[in-house]
């Protein structure tokens, strides 16, 4: 070993600098810290300077230029000796925190006899001037300070590294050493050889320490996690420990006696510090009195010297964590104080006094910490927590803490001990510190066992039940709603059932929704049927008419192209046509002029609304309006008269309203307004003059709304013309159509310059970026639109009612329903085809889109998911949203423990990732029928159910081949029950009766039940299986 070259090359230079420093007055010796606590000389307000200077504690650092392994203080605590692999020095630490180099013990001694020190101890009473070091080669070196720190003697008996030495506090001539070889030796410095050798029958000894209050006892910590208590005087006679505790399940590295002499703290690699009762009593107490769980393996743990009732332990990690933490054993999860001064693993901890902690580290620093300037980890923690319950109540827990004290109270603050001390005690402690009185043991609980309980923080718990969501209807509906059509059930039945369920639970709006859906889908189904017939009929006709309609196609394509441009413009509401014209060549939009409507395509199109058919006069009036205003609004009726050409299915009779921007269009509309007002009498609207009045009354309030109204009027102007044409074509529907056109008028203007825009635009598509636009404008929603007469307005009104009260909606809904039904009836009478249906605003697609948008906005994921499941095959939903709804719904069901409905939903859905969830982790865990122990080795797949549960034992696979697996119970060591009939082992399929859980071979059971026509179970349990 001596052949090793030594790396301590810089030590010579450091020695030189140290010497120079001594001459020039040690300019660099002590430097105030910059981290953690405030610099000592700053922040000293008059109120605290007294205390502070009294304590004389300042954080101070000293760089020793070599990693330090251990430190020890002289008995009068003004000198400290630090030892490392390459260093052994005595430092002087003054009260003010100035640290200076005092003596280098290595300097005067022959360096070849010095190897790395693993521990250093300063002697006590009779050996005040003695320093002993433990070396990694098994030596114990004793230095005599009276002779200038000369190496006095080397005691070499340990064959392996000595880890820790300890001077007996009662007799300083007695030295105890613990070594890697598992031995502890007691030395008398006056004798040449060790006086006794103790073997703990354990692993390497990591730490030894004498009991300070009863110096005949010492404790040792071992590498196998045990701690032992010995009495060294008995060493000659009884070579055994007094007490032994398997304290840790990993090596124990540190022990420290509590000042009361009865308890001991042990720190281990298993990241815990445990406090044990190590007193005289019976050793059967195998449980730690306290356990502190820390973040890293514990290197050292020492009690804070605070009298015999101290509850605080300073710990440092062995590696990977450079923080010193002071724990209160009553609060074992949050450190009370922390120091982050070091940059490498801390190797030594020593309390100078109650409020001053010395530490040394592998980062070559010796640091004096002042507890007054420690971090308080508790202060950086969050003291409140909030959790939601599935039924939307939430629970908030808040710790009740005093407000953080003002800065100048710093010194007092740490004595307040947070909340752990109770009131009067707090005061007493403060007083005692100020007065420097000795700790009064009587006033405090005696020792740490008196403080057995854990700290319980005072907390306020708040439970808030929000009226947003009531679980009962949800559960009821989840259990009773039809989400997938079973055999023989029609969509209509499902809707009616759901409506009834919702009605019964008082969810009237949902009930109405289902009723409406029922109507619509019935009607649409009929219409589709008729349409199919008609399409067949008209197949040849359409062929001949293609020529005729080219111009119309062109015009329609114009709209489509404009739509494209609009969406490419990135307008907030991209609204491609839901049913775009499929087979038209896209002509350049601006070169073609429509015959009737001079289209002035502006930059943006906000809306492409599908219109009801027979929009004969629409283009006339709308074009008038647009030309008049010069605003970017144009409508193109891209159809010939309906009487002439019955519509092919895909022909959307949309008119395009092209506006650049909401705001712009409003601006542009403004000059037009008076004119429109004058030219559009309210008499346009037959059935709903009231609501109209309401709207108009509110017009003056906001500019936006006035423009909207104007827009609205303009539209109604347009519709008047259309209505007119309707009247021409089918008289008997005029009144109902009046409503519907009215609704269209409203929808149109809503869509253009009003927050309700979203609903209408969503009629054409479900593009999500409408949403942002919609929310951006939602401040317009101040005006309740109480027009209950059409779906769009209904929707709008219910939207409004998010901000309003609910009954109104229900009323409105009721009326709405009636009117709607009337509408349907009327339309049905008219008997137009499915193609027309598709273009109607309340066709299934549009209606469902509106519904799901509305309900998803409301957060009614249940409704959305059910709708998506029921109508997913008829209507195109956005796949992603559908997935979100169903997933959310399933999750919600799970939270309410409604597993059966959840499973049904998963089964019914077509959304891939929801389904795939259900297909993973489907294990069956079996228990043995005899002993009820789990049978480990059988994880079979789901058995297919055919009335009775069939367990596919083949899934157990190869295990079964060796008569193991599902057939053999490891625990009770017998085969599981075989066939009830033949009592043979069942391999392959085991069929059982679900009533009595008995079963067996398929064939045997068939014979039993079918051939022999037995009714009862073959096992004789008396169950009537058939």
């Amino acid at each position: 070993m001596d052949g090793f070259a030594n790396q301590a090359l810089p030590s010579r230079t450091s020695k030189a600098t140290a010497a120079i420093q001594r001459f020039i007055g040690g300019g660099v010796t002590s430097r105030p810290t910059t981290s953690a606590g405030p610099p000592a000389h700053a922040h000293l307000t008059p109120s605290t300077s007294n205390l502070s200077s009294f304590h004389g504690t300042r954080t101070a650092r000293y760089d020793l230029q070599a990693p330090i392994q251990s430190l020890s203080a002289s008995p009068d605590q003004d000198l400290v000796v630090v030892a490392g692999r390459e260093v052994l020095k005595i430092l002087r630490v003054t009260i003010q925190g100035e640290i200076s180099d005092r003596l280098d013990l290595r300097a005067g001694n022959a360096s070849n006899k010095l190897v790395a020190n693993s521990d250093v101890k300063w002697g006590c009473n009779f050996s005040k001037d003695v320093i002993a070091t433990a070396n990694t080669n098994g030596n114990i070196c004793v230095y005599d300070l009276n002779r200038g720190g000369k190496l006095d003697r080397i005691m070499h008996e340990h064959q392996r590294s000595v880890h820790r030495i300890a001077f007996n506090p009662g007799n300083g001539k007695i030295l105890l050493s613990g070594s890697q070889d598992g031995l502890m030796k007691v030395w008398d410095l006056r004798q040449k050889k060790s006086t006794m050798t103790l073997w703990g029958k354990s692993d390497a000894v990591r730490d030894v320490q004498f009991n300070p209050s009863n110096a005949v006892h010492f404790a040792a910590a071992f590498d196998n996690g045990t701690i032992q208590k010995w009495e060294w005087r008995m060493g000659g006679t009884a070579h055994s420990y007094l007490k032994k505790i398997s304290a840790h399940n990993e090596p124990a590295f540190s022990i420290d006696w509590h000042p009361d002499g009865k308890h001991i703290a042990s720190g281990s690699r298993d990241k815990t510090v445990k406090v044990w009762d190590f007193g005289e009593g019976d050793s059967q107490n195998k449980r730690p009195a306290h356990t502190i769980s820390t973040m890293a393996a514990i290197g050292r743990a020492t009690w804070r010297p605070r009298g015999s009732s101290t509850r605080e332990i300073a710990t440092c990690a062995m590696s990977h964590n450079n923080r010193i933490t002071v724990w209160d054993i009553k609060r074992p999860f949050v450190g009370k104080y922390a120091f982050d001064e070091h940059t490498n693993a801390i190797s030594g901890l020593l309390w100078k006094d109650e409020n001053t902690l010395w530490s040394c580290s592998k980062d070559q620093m010796f640091v004096q910490h002042d507890l007054s300037y420690a971090l308080h980890p508790i202060n950086s923690l969050n003291h409140s927590a909030v959790a939601w319950a599935p039924d939307l109540t939430f629970l908030a827990v808040m710790g009740q803490r005093p407000p953080p004290p003002a800065k100048r109270d710093r010194n007092v603050r740490f004595e307040m001990d947070d909340e752990i001390m109770v009131g009067n005690r707090k005061k007493m402690m403060v007083g005692h510190i100020a007065g420097r009185a000795p700790p009064k043991a009587g006033g405090q609980a005696s020792g740490i066992e008196g403080l057995g309980g854990k700290y319980v923080p005072q907390q306020a718990v708040v439970e808030v039940a929000l009226p947003m969501f009531s679980p009962e209807p949800f559960i009821f509906m989840a259990e009773n709603w039809v989400s997938s059509l079973s055999d023989g059930m029609t969509l209509s039945d499902a809707c009616q059932n759901n409506a009834q369920t919702a009605w019964r639970i008082g969810q009237y709006r949902m009930a109405q929704t289902w009723k409406m859906l029922d109507l619509i889908q019935n009607w649409e189904a009929e219409a589709r049927q008729q349409e199919e017939e008609r399409i067949n009929k008209e197949a040849e006709q359409t062929a001949s008419k293609i020529h005729h309609e080219t111009g119309i196609f062109a015009r329609r394509a114009l709209g489509a192209a404009a739509t494209d441009r609009k969406s490419s413009n990135g307008s907030a509401n991209a609204t491609p046509l839901a049913k775009p014209v499929t087979d038209d060549p896209p002509p350049p939009p601006q070169t073609i002029l429509t015959p009737k409507a001079p289209v002035n395509p502006s930059g943006n199109i906000d809306e492409n609304l599908s219109l009801p058919p027979k929009a004969f006069g629409t283009s006339v009036s709308s074009s008038t309006a647009s030309t008049d205003g010069g605003e970017g609004l144009s409508m193109a009726a891209r159809r010939g008269p309906i009487v002439d050409s019955p519509p092919p299915i895909e022909e959307g009779k949309e008119f395009s309203m092209k506006t650049t921007d909401q705001q712009e269009s409003e601006d542009r509309i403004t000059p037009l307004r008076s004119e429109i007002f004058s030219t559009s009498p309210e008499t346009t609207f037959n059935g709903n003059g009231n609501s109209k009045v309401v709207n108009d009354l509110e017009v003056p309030d906001v500019a936006a709304s006035s423009s909207y109204d104007k827009d609205h009027n303009k539209m109604s102007l347009a519709y008047r013309g259309r209505q007119y044409s309707i009247g021409l074509t089918s008289e008997q529907t005029s009144s109902s159509y009046d409503d519907s056109t009215n609704s269209f008028g409203q929808r149109a203007r809503l869509g253009n310059s009003h927050p309700f825009h979203k609903e209408t635009s969503d009629d054409e598509d479900e593009d999500d970026n409408n949403r942002g636009h919609y929310h951006g404008q939602s401040h317009h929603m101040g005006h309740p639109t109480t027009n209950p007469l059409n779906p769009a307005a209904r929707n709008a009104s219910s939207h409004n009612l998010k901000h309003q009260h609910q009954p109104n909606t229900i009323e409105a809904l009721g009326k709405d329903m009636q009117d709607l039904a009337k509408d349907f009836g009327a339309v049905k009478l008219e008997g137009s085809g499915y193609g027309r249906m598709k273009d109607l605003p309340w066709n299934l697609q549009n209606f469902l889109t509106v519904l799901t948008d509305y309900y998803s906005d409301k957060g009614e994921v249940q409704m959305c998911a059910t709708l998506a499941l029921l109508f997913g095959s008829l209507v195109d939903f956005d796949e992603r949203r559908m997935g979100d709804w169903i997933e959310g719904y399933v999750e919600q069901l799970h939270r309410f423990k409604l597993y059966v409905p959840a499973a049904e939903i998963i089964k019914a859905t077509t959304v891939e990732h929801v389904r795939s969830q259900a297909l993973t982790n489907t294990f069956i865990h079996l228990n043995c029928g005899n002993c009820n122990a789990p049978m480990m080795s059988n994880i079979g797949g789901m058995g297919g159910g055919r009335g009775s549960t069939v367990l596919d034992a083949d899934a157990a696979g190869a295990m079964q081949a060796s008569y193991k697996g599902s057939l053999y119970c490891e625990s009770c060591r017998r085969m599981s029950d075989g066939c009830m009939v033949c009592h043979e082992v069942v391999r392959g399929r085991w069929t059982m009766c679900q009533g009595c859980c008995h079963g067996g071979h398929d064939d045997c059971l068939r014979q039993w039940y079918l051939d022999a026509a037995m009714r009862q179970c073959p096992s004789g349990c008396g169950h009537e299986c058939t």
Binding site: S118, Q159, R160, K201, N224, N249, K286, S319, S962
Partner: protein, 385 residues
């Protein structure tokens, strides 16, 4: 000192092992190696140490031996067949020893076994107890075994592995251990065997604990352990190394370490490092001819760190890995003179040091000291000739 032999020997170390995944496990004696390399035949006077693995059925004996000596991933051990006869597995690592995997069902007290032959030159008895199961029966067997063994070989090390503790909570682990220790101590005291020293280890194949326990077991069988440790201590203190391990690269057992406490992360990173080096050797290593004196230098790149070009003149395999946190891992194959490998197959040994970047700057010093360390090792082994 037959310099030409060194590279030749290298072939049979890491690379060789990797090219032929389990030769030591399949060939009971290293015949192939000895033919080419020519180490003198084993001195029969020093018996091959034997480790007995015993325990109840399904307590995990075969799993332990598979994980430790066969590099089986712990999760795979679920599919191990139960052992039906005594599996004598020669483990040709740094020291030749045999692991005898006893089937749990066998009752060797029924007179059909030559207990003398089984136990007489056994170095250690490892008794595996399934901590997750009922262990009373196992304890009874353990007591019987101890008493039997005491008749034939009182100097045997009895090591009790309280196994499968990964499924237990920390408290329960300790309780289980306490209970087992208490029962065993009481029982043996009643029978008058209170001088038997038993070591208990909490182990699990899912973490390092089984390796650590095995390391301790094997270290106890090494008479040179103290010397090795002191050598390492010297190396560590003179090179400012944080931690040094002497690893057996095959089983990832550490044969010796310096006396500073072993912390889990250090051990784990070294063990992973060995894996990396072995894998790299497998990919980039080449079969060096007898005359070649160029050694392979592993340029392992850690995920974040960079690697410097290493000294190519070094005769031994070495590798350096720089970690992001300022630490450096240094691996050096301990490649002794072939004559010293009588009892010890040092070719499976590697020295791994963990040190700070600053300490690694003096690379020359470290290399020199490692060389000194190697020479010292040679001397230690020569003593055993």
């Amino acid at each position: 000192m037959a310099r030409g032999n060194r590279p030749q020997k290298l072939n049979y170390s890491l690379e060789r092992w990797m090219q032929d995944p389990s030769p030591p496990l399949q060939s009971p004696t290293p015949s192939k190696v000895s033919m080419q390399n020519g180490p003198p035949p084993r001195v029969r006077g020093a018996p091959r140490p034997r480790l007995l693995l015993q325990g109840q059925r399904r307590s995990g004996k075969s799993s332990i031996s598979s994980v430790v000596f066969h590099k089986m991933p712990p999760t795979e051990t679920l599919f191990l067949e139960s052992t039906t006869r005594i599996q004598k597995e020669p483990v040709n690592t740094f020291m030749d020893f045999q692991v005898w995997d006893f089937p749990g069902q066998i009752d060797y007290n029924d007179g059909t076994f030559d207990l003398e032959a089984i136990f007489s030159d056994t170095g250690a008895l490892i008794y595996v107890i399934d901590a997750q199961d009922e262990y009373l029966e196992a304890l009874t067997r353990l007591h019987q075994t101890i008493i039997t063994i005491q008749r034939f070989n009182p100097s045997i090390n009895v090591e009790v592995f309280i196994h499968k503790v990964d499924g237990l909570s920390d408290d329960f682990k300790l309780d289980t251990q306490r209970d087992i220790v208490q029962r065993t101590t009481d029982e043996l005291a009643d029978l008058g065997f209170d001088s038997v020293h038993i070591n208990y280890h909490l182990t699990s194949i899912y973490d390092h604990s089984i390796f650590e326990a095995f390391s301790k077991v094997i270290q106890k069988l090494l008479p040179e352990l103290g010397t090795l440790e002191n050598l390492l201590n010297g190396l560590v203190s003179n090179c400012r190394i944080e931690k040094a391990f002497l690893f057996d690269v095959l089983s990832k057992i550490y044969v010796a370490t310096d006396s500073s406490p072993v912390d889990v992360q250090s051990y784990e990173i070294c063990s992973d490092y060995i894996d990396v080096v072995l894998d790299m050797t497998e990919i980039y290593g080449y079969d060096r001819g007898d005359s070649s004196e160029v050694s392979t230098v592993e340029e392992s790149k850690s995920s974040m760190g960079s690697t410097n070009a290493e000294d190519w003149s070094l005769p031994d395999q070495s590798s350096v890995m720089k970690l992001q946190n300022g630490m450096v891992l240094f691996l050096r194959e301990i490649n002794n003179h072939p004559l010293t490998t009588i009892l010890w197959n040092t070719r499976f040994l590697a020295l791994i040091c963990i040190m700070r970047k600053e300490s690694f700057e003096k690379r020359g010093l470290i290399d020199y000291n490692v060389q000194v360390f190697q020479q010292a090792l040679e001397k230690v082994f020569e003593l055993h000739r």
